[in-house]
Each structure stands twice: as structure tokens, then as C-alpha cells.
Symmetry: C2
Subunit: 259 residues, 2 copies
């Protein structure tokens, strides 16, 4: 099976031009097919502030009203996506940048939940056939976390989830490695001590650490996503720091998640 | 030869949600392969105003400084591009939205001229092979007028020129129809009288009308573009009103430009 790498970068990379530049240089050098899924970072919040659009967060998740949707569509699918694409191309990597809404590659619906997060999407399906054509033609695809529903409503969508859903869908035809990057070197036993990195985290260890409340808050949905991806056929999932991308690809850095 | 239609819409359509909705409904119904190239409209100017980024126009052309480039990248490649894509999809047209920078489909360089327009691009080349794969896979491509140079610098680029360059490049393999839409029903003998529509404009008539100053200002580069496209092999070029798209496609509305 041909290899594919799917890397998700978070706000901490996007917010730091020097870190982003280094990361994209490393990413451009990954051989073979690859997908970069990017989140938003504080640029959207900054723009909302400048435009006097009040931002509401519930449990760390942004509530996306109509004005906020405009902002995230501009920032994620416009500014961030095209700047990443341009930098990758400057590193001899002819990336194609799209949002999840383009070509109906990701089908989604508006989240219906007890808490109304507004125009937020949950992924239904990834069109593997079309995505495979793009991968075959361009080698590298950069995806902004905007999707849409059947009625043409754009939806702000969690980038971790998009990375996971794409990895799951591609795992049937590719040897798929999913890499989540964030601000830590990996999953830590003690969140304040980078030396406490867990190199290998299996399901039972994860359960125990959750019970002891050593793993908590934002790490829980991230790791739940990771285990779900493995269960659905993704060959490898790891979590680590963007500046260690080469080590994460090689398997020498970060936390490897195993069933 | 297979047919392809390339339609350029200007700011007057983008600025008017009702007109845009009707136009996209008509556009979605065009059979066969098609490309929509969109300009920016006043959304970018509005956003610049809100963000206190002063806008400088020289001869009606926007000077693109660094902050303005950020704004047009957000508005053109983000907000407008993705809203058009979502609306087309709601009309059963699974369009893919990209900018000229994506996948190195359009190669450009920063304009060097007596007047410094800032980060403005001139098109060097269109990658027909990659664009053809996208057309074959998605049928409909929506292109935002942002390109880049070899060094990875994003560039604000004239949408008329992008439409023309794409049409020229595709004319070798497709029976290519290029349609420019703008705020008038076509080229007018008297700019204030829509009834003075010129149905057919050839090169010698154009020269005569330019001499008489009946064709002037913004129409001149538009028509120069049109004649250049025909000379380079584009089968048909016409200019007319977006709300008459069906008639423009059928050849019953607008001005047909002929050599």
C-alpha cells in the first residue's frame, strides 16, 4: 500500500511566523503524498476584535454566528490557506489549497446539540475518489476547516475532526499516518513537565490516566479522535510538536497512540 | 472539440446578493465544463475601511500594499470564493474553488512598471494539464484572482486577465467561449443608452469607435483583452450583463467580439 501522511497543525504554529516557516520547510520535504489540515489560530479572534464582532466561547469552542462565520471563512480559507500554499510552493512543493466545502469533498451537516454553537459542522462523509484525484495530480493538499451542508450553508468545522475523517477514509486505499501537532512534545504524564512525555499510549493506559485525571480537558477529544481513527483502520497515529515534524514522521518523537 | 465556457463576473454582481443568487442559479445550469472567474467588488474596500487600511487607486486600479494584499486574499480567495462555491453546490453543481496560486496553476510575476501598484501580478503561464484534471474531475472550477510568483509572494491579479489567459490556454484543446459580464448589456455606442447596444464588434469598427472616443476608459483594456483572446485561438468572446447569462451563452444577448 502506498503511504500517505496527514498532518494537522494548530493555532500555536499559525500564530508564530518563524515556527510556521520552519514547519512548512520540513513539511515540503516529506516524500510522497501528504495532506496538511490547518486550524485557525488567533488571527480570526484578532480580526473579530478589530471588527467589533463579539466572540463567545463555550468550553473553549467558538460559537459561530453569521458574522463570525464570515470572519473564519476569510481567515481560514483565504488568508491562512493561501499563505501556507504560497510558502510550500516557495519550498518546491506545488500544493493545492482548498476548503472542505470545495468540490463537495467533505459532506457535513450543522451540529444539532443541547448547546447551540451556531454555524458549526459535523462531518458525514469524505469523497475519497475526488480527493485521490487531487492527491495524484498535486501530491500535496492543504485543507481549511470550512465545510458545508447540502443546502449550501458554510460551516466552521473542527480541524482535528477533519484530519481524522480524512485519515479514516483514506485508510482503505493508503497506508495512512495521522499526525496531530500541538504546543507540547506529546501526551505528558505531568502537563507542566515536558520530560514526562509518554512515548506510547495504548487504550488501557489512556483509560487509567483519564481516571487519575492526568489526562483532561482538550486532550480528551483529541485522544478520543486518535483512538477512533486507529479503530477505523488508520495505520499510525501520533501526537507531538510541530517543530519536531521530522521526528514525528520518523517515529522518534511525540506520543504514538496504539489500540 | 469539447466545449468549455469561461465566465468572468465583476463587482456589480458580487455586491448584489439577489443578482448573484440568480446568476449562480443560471451558471449552475450551464451544461458541460465551465470556469467562473470572479473579481472582488466593494467588500474588500468596505473591509479596508473598517480596518483603517487606506486604499489608494491609480486610474481606477487598486494599489496593493501588504495590508491590502491580506484583505484581498481574505475576501477574494476566502469569503467570495467559498460563498460562490457553496451556492453553486446548493444548485447541484459540485464546484471546486481555488485561487490562481493553488497547485501552481497560474504562474505570475510582480508587475514592474513606471507606476508601482504594489503586490500586483502579471500572468506568465497557465498549467493546462493540471487545470484539465480539475475540469475533468469537478466539471466546474471557481477561480479567485490571487496568484503568486516563484518566490511564494501572493499577488493581487486582474480577474479579466486571468479569464483571458485561461481561455487562451484552454483554446488549444477545447472549443472555448469566453464571456465577460459587467454592469451594461454590452458595448454601447452611447454609454448612457442601453438601447445603443452593439451586437457585433469587429477590430476595424473598434478602432473607429476608439478614435471617435465612443469607446473609452475601462472598456479599452477589456476589449483589448477580448481581441487578444480571439487572436490566440479562443473561438468566441462576448461581453454583456450577468443577469442575461443564458442569452450570452446562447449568443442572443450582449456584444459578440470578432476579429
Amino acid at each position: 500500500m502506498e503511504q500517505i501522511r496527514i498532518v494537522k497543525i494548530g493555532g500555536n504554529v499559525i500564530n508564530d511566523p518563524t515556527l510556521l516557516r520552519k514547519f512548512l520547510k520540513d513539511f515540503a520535504q516529506i516524500e510522497g503524498k501528504k495532506i496538511l489540515v490547518h486550524g485557525g489560530g488567533k488571527l480570526a479572534t484578532d480580526l473579530a476584535l478589530k471588527l467589533n464582532v463579539p466572540q463567545q466561547l463555550i468550553d473553549g469552542r467558538r460559537v459561530t454566528d453569521e458574522e463570525t462565520l464570515k470572519i473564519v471563512t476569510m481567515v481560514y480559507a483565504g488568508y491562512i490557506n493561501k499563505n501556507i500554499v504560497a510558502q510550500l510552493q516557495a519550498n518546491k512543493c506545488a500544493a493545492l489549497g482548498i476548503s472542505g466545502a470545495d468540490g463537495e469533498i467533505i459532506k457535513a451537516h450543522k451540529r444539532i446539540a443541547a448547546i447551540d454553537y451556531g454555524f458549526v459542522g459535523d462531518v458525514d462523509e469524505v469523497d475519497i475518489e475526488k480527493l485521490s484525484v487531487l492527491l495524484h495530480t498535486f501530491g500535496t493538499i492543504v485543507i481549511a476547516p470550512i465545510t458545508k451542508d447540502a443546502g449550501g450553508q458554510l460551516l466552521n468545522t473542527n480541524a482535528d475532526t477533519i484530519a481524522q475523517e480524512i485519515a479514516k477514509a483514506l485508510s482503505h486505499t493508503y497506508d495512512t499516518k495521522l499526525i496531530y501537532t500541538f504546543e507540547k512534545t506529546g501526551v505528558l504524564l505531568d502537563v507542566n513537565n515536558e520530560a514526562s512525555l509518554i512515548h506510547r499510549l495504548d487504550k488501557s493506559y489512556y483509560k487509567a490516566l483519564k481516571k487519575e485525571e492526568k489526562i483532561f480537558a482538550g486532550m480528551i477529544p483529541k485522544l478520543d479522535n486518535a483512538f477512533q481513527a486507529l479503530k477505523s483502520g488508520v495505520a499510525t497515529v501520533c501526537i507531538g510538536e510541530a517543530k519536531e515534524l521530522k521526528g514525528l514522521i520518523a517515529g522518534s518523537c511525540g506520543t504514538k497512540i496504539v489500540l
